[in-house]
């Protein structure tokens, strides 16, 4: 990401947004797993202690309790790191939350390899494959702090289970406050008709950088911010296929089960189109986030090469 860009923390935006929602939604109760400072729910814990419950590192129970609270009319926001909130208690999310379609909001931080130095086990690179396999779940991957804040508000207002995926690292600001997030409706954050880069989360900023690089070589790329992975914005994907004829997906996630899978399925079923996928091909190690991103091919350069490849295939 261009060092010049303003950065902001999506997880801090989450913690602060929760405070704003407290009065409007008296049903909101926050559940934590001994990571409340890191996920910024300590702000809520200290301000609304009676509406906060800590369960320590015992995530299966935390999700189960959240289901019971939701079944009793509460709006539980459950927060920990992605690997501990999705990968660890998956069966509880499936049986107690997804199947009965309960109103549980799972907001996890430290997803993906941006978690950096903590290493392999801390890198949640399969959380989207898991969350998107839960029928009826809303899965949202905000691209920056502003979008994260609006997504959290949308989750509080909408009924049903949500998974919102946030990062550890501060990420580039790509939206100002005039931006309006609409659940399930993607944002065309940059116009273009030569090809389309579809991405989500922190990769949106990287995709915009890639679009700049492409622009320098005269290729005008469209960039779509597919912030909602489930339900995905099929219309935008198909419009991109029809209007630009070549698609690149860019995601900070394992190559299976994430954004690329979703886009590939939509294209194959409705409008077969050359597709290139920029995604993780395996596990990563400890290291600074930026270095890991480059090493793993989640860089503007690799998106650019993927785009040129897709363009070549489009031209046949």
């Amino acid at each position: 990401m261009a060092a010049t860009q303003a950065m902001a923390s999506t997880r801090e935006a989450y913690g602060r947004t929760l405070l704003d929602l407290a009065d409007k939604h008296p049903g909101i109760v926050v559940l934590g797993g001994d990571l409340n400072v890191s996920v910024f729910t300590h702000l809520w814990r200290d301000k609304y202690p009676e509406r906060f419950f800590d369960f320590g590192p015992a995530e299966q129970n935390m999700v189960g309790v959240a289901a019971g609270l939701a079944a009793s009319g509460k709006i539980p926001f459950v927060s920990t790191f992605a690997v501990f909130g999705v990968e660890r208690p998956f069966d509880q999310l499936r049986v107690l939350v997804s199947q009965p379609h309960l109103n549980v909001k799972l907001v996890c931080t430290h997803a993906g390899i941006l978690t950096g130095e903590d290493g392999m086990s801390a890198h949640g690179i399969e959380d989207l494959a898991l969350a998107c396999s839960l029928d009826g779940f809303h899965v949202v991957v905000p691209s920056d702090a502003e979008e994260a804040s609006q997504a959290v508000q949308a989750a509080a207002e909408a009924d049903g289970p949500f998974y919102i995926r946030l990062s550890r690292a501060a990420t580039p600001v790509v939206h100002d406050q005039s931006y309006r997030f609409t659940l399930g409706r993607s944002e065309t954050i940059k116009q273009g008709n030569d090809l389309t880069i579809i991405s989500a989360g922190a990769m949106v900023a990287v995709s915009l950088d890639a679009a700049d690089l492409l622009g320098q070589s005269g290729v005008i790329a469209r960039v779509v911010n597919m912030h909602t992975l489930k339900p995905a914005d099929e219309d935008a994907i198909l419009a991109a296929a029809r209007e630009t004829g070549a698609i690149v997906t860019a995601e900070e996630h394992y190559v299976h089960g994430g954004l690329g899978s979703i886009v590939a399925q939509v294209l194959g079923q409705h409008h077969p189109t050359p597709l290139e996928m920029v995604a993780l091909r395996g596990y990563t190690v400890s290291g600074p986030a930026e270095q890991l991103m480059v090493r793993s091919g989640l860089s503007a350069d690799s998106i650019k090469s993927a785009a040129l490849k897709a363009l070549k295939r489009k031209q046949g």
Partner: protein
């Protein structure tokens, strides 16, 4: 006679609780009314027949654990619970969470008798488009939680119990767990956090029938000293013969009074209770009796 235990009376038996949250202390001992225990015992005998009929008609299901939990369910639905079969989602209701959801036939038989569903509906168990799922699911009026994956019910029940605190409501939450189910770590996560969060309105009942899916608990995974485990996790522990109604009812009374922390009742039961060849027989954990076995069982319960 038994009809005197239909919904109307159930409601009458469950007048509102006192605000201090020590629920229904005024009701304690109400089951001692002349003839009541005999009625409940007769009901148990009838419902055992309903359970077997339900499973036999479906051709599959879990008789063993349904028969062992029956007196527990009867004690709750026809005495302890504050509930209204006409309003399954009455916000002030006491909750019963069946964590061992494979034993749904026991619950369905009781829900039918209490008036949540029609008795005829039992014949639809496990059939396509029935509301009576193989494992208890909230699509059935009176069922609180989706089940089938063991170990989750106590967490869910704790959530309901904490909601009562947030809403300043005085309802109680009961959770029925299997003994084999206590192998699941989530049960101990829930136990630890329930005492940490002082959920004194949470009452767990362990159906201690000493058999799990394949074999006896001592063979699969030793649980003893089970009472000490719960005590060391901060719970008040009561033990009782899970088929002796007077003991069971008075133990539940005790559990509902002087509550300063969560309480667990370890109910010593017999898996397959009531049918000689099913009792203490792991083979009937999860299979339906065949025609001959069914007739023999119904004869025994006649």
């Amino acid at each position: 006679m038994l009809s005197s235990l239909q919904p109307a009376l159930v409601r009458e038996m469950t007048v509102p609780k006192t605000a201090n949250g020590n629920s229904s202390t005024n009701l304690n001992g109400a089951w001692k009314a002349p003839g009541r225990v005999q009625e409940l015992e007769a009901m148990a005998r009838e419902l055992r027949r309903d359970i077997l009929q339900t499973i036999f008609t479906a051709g599959s299901g879990h008789p063993g654990g349904s028969l062992s939990e029956l007196e527990i369910l009867i004690s709750l639905y026809f005495y302890a619970l504050r509930h209204d079969p006409a309003q399954p989602s009455w916000p002030d209701r006491d909750r019963l969470v069946l964590s061992k959801g494979h034993a749904s036939p026991g619950l369905y038989a009781v829900l039918a008798r209490a008036g949540y569903i029609a008795r005829d509906e039992l014949a639809t168990f496990r059939k396509l488009d029935s509301r009576l799922q193989g494992h208890a699911h909230p699509m059935t009026p009176g069922v609180e939680m989706n089940s089938g994956s063991l170990g989750m019910g106590l967490s869910f029940a704790l959530g309901c119990a904490l909601a009562a605190r947030l809403d300043a409501k005085d309802y109680l939450v009961y959770a029925i767990l299997g003994d084999g189910e206590c192998d699941e770590g989530e049960v101990w996560e829930a136990a630890m956090s329930a005492s940490h969060h002082k959920a004194s309105n949470l009452i767990a009942i362990v159906d201690r029938n000493r058999i799990q899916n394949d074999r006896f608990t001592d063979e699969v995974m030793s649980l003893e000293p089970l009472p000490l485990k719960w005590r060391s996790f901060g719970w008040r522990v009561l033990e009782v013969d899970g088929h002796d109604l007077p003991s069971l009812l008075s133990t539940i009374d005790k559990a509902r009074t002087r509550r300063t922390r969560p309480t667990v009742i370890i109910a010593h039961t017999v898996k397959g209770k009531g049918v000689t060849f099913m009792e203490n027989n792991p083979a009937f954990h999860g299979r339906s009796p065949n025609q001959e076995e069914f007739e023999q069982a119904m004869k025994e319960l006649a």
